[in-house]
C-alpha cells in the first residue's frame, strides 16, 4: 500500500464518517460543523486527483461562503439555545431501506462496469490551462454563469428583505 493509497483512505474516511454524522446528528449546529469536515475531506480528494485549483475553490467557496451562509440561516431561523431538531420517527426505517437499495444498486452497477481507464496527463499546476479554457472554449458558459450569479444574488437580497419597505 503506497503513501498515495494511505492518504486516499484517510481523506475518504474523514469525508464519509463526517458525512454520516451530518445526516444523523441531532443538533443542527453540530451538523453544520460536521459538514465542514466533509467538505474539507472532499477538497483533499480533489488534491489527490490532481485538481489543485478545484480544491482551493472548494475550500474558499464552500467552507468560506456556503457553510457560513448556512450557519447564518441556522442562527436566524432557530432558537439558538434550543437547537434540537424535531425528528420524524415514523419515516426512519423506510428511508433507511430505500436509501440502502439505492446505494446497493449504484455500487453494484459501478463495480460491474468495465471502465476503460486511460490516465490523462494533468499538468503540474492546472490554473493556467483552466483559465485558458475559460476564455476560449467555455467563454459563453462563463459569461452566462456570471450573469446568473448576479441575478441570483440580487434576487436573494430583495427576497430576504421584502416586507421592510
Amino acid at each position: 500500500m503506497s503513501i498515495y493509497d494511505f492518504i486516499f483512505y484517510l481523506f475518504a474516511a474523514i469525508t464519509l464518517l463526517s458525512g454520516l454524522m451530518v445526516v444523523s446528528s441531532g443538533n443542527i449546529v453540530r451538523s453544520a460543523f460536521y459538514l465542514l469536515a466533509t467538505l474539507f475531506g472532499i477538497s483533499g480528494l480533489y488534491v489527490l486527483l490532481g485538481a489543485d485549483f478545484v480544491a482551493v475553490t472548494q475550500i474558499m467557496v464552500y467552507i468560506g461562503g456556503i457553510l457560513i451562509l448556512l450557519l447564518f440561516g441556522v442562527m436566524l431561523t432557530s432558537d439558538i439555545t434550543r437547537v434540537e431538531i424535531k425528528k420524524g420517527k415514523t419515516a426512519v426505517l423506510p428511508a433507511i431501506v430505500g436509501v440502502g437499495v439505492l446505494l446497493g444498486s449504484i455500487t453494484s452497477i459501478l463495480l460491474k462496469t468495465n471502465w476503460q481507464i486511460e490516465l490523462s496527463k494533468i499538468p503540474q499546476t492546472t490554473t493556467y490551462d483552466l483559465g485558458k479554457l475559460l476564455i476560449t472554449d467555455y467563454v459563453l458558459i462563463f459569461e452566462l454563469l456570471g450573469i446568473l450569479l448576479l441575478i441570483a444574488l440580487i434576487g436573494a437580497a430583495s427576497m430576504a428583505r421584502r416586507d421592510q419597505e
Binding site: 493509497d5 480533489y46 486527483l49 448556512l70 420524524g88 481507464i117 486511460e118 427576497m159
Partner: protein, 103 residues
Amino acid sequence: MFEVGLTHYLIVSSFLFAFGIYAIVIRKNAILVLMGVELILNAANINFVAFSRYGNFGLNGQLMALFVIVLAAAEAAIALAIVLNIYKTFGHVNVDEIDKLKE
C-alpha cells in the same frame, strides 16, 4: 484491491450521494435539507473530477466541477432567502408542516 483507482472515488461519491438523499428524506428542518443538497452536489463533483483524471478528458471535467460550485453558491443564497421568508410567515422552518403558499 487496495490499489486506489477510479472505482474507489466512485464508491466514495455514491456513499455521499446516498447520505444526501437520506438527509433530504428524513430531515424536517429546511436548513438540514439544504445540507443534503450540498452533499449531493459534492458527490457529483467528485465524479466529474475523477473521470477527468482517469478518462483522459483533459481539464474539461474539472471545469464542470467549477461550474457546479458556482451554481451551488447561487442555489444556497436563493434557498436561504426563501427559508428566511418561510420563517417570517410561519415562525418555524419544518418542511412537513408548511402547506400554504400565502398567509
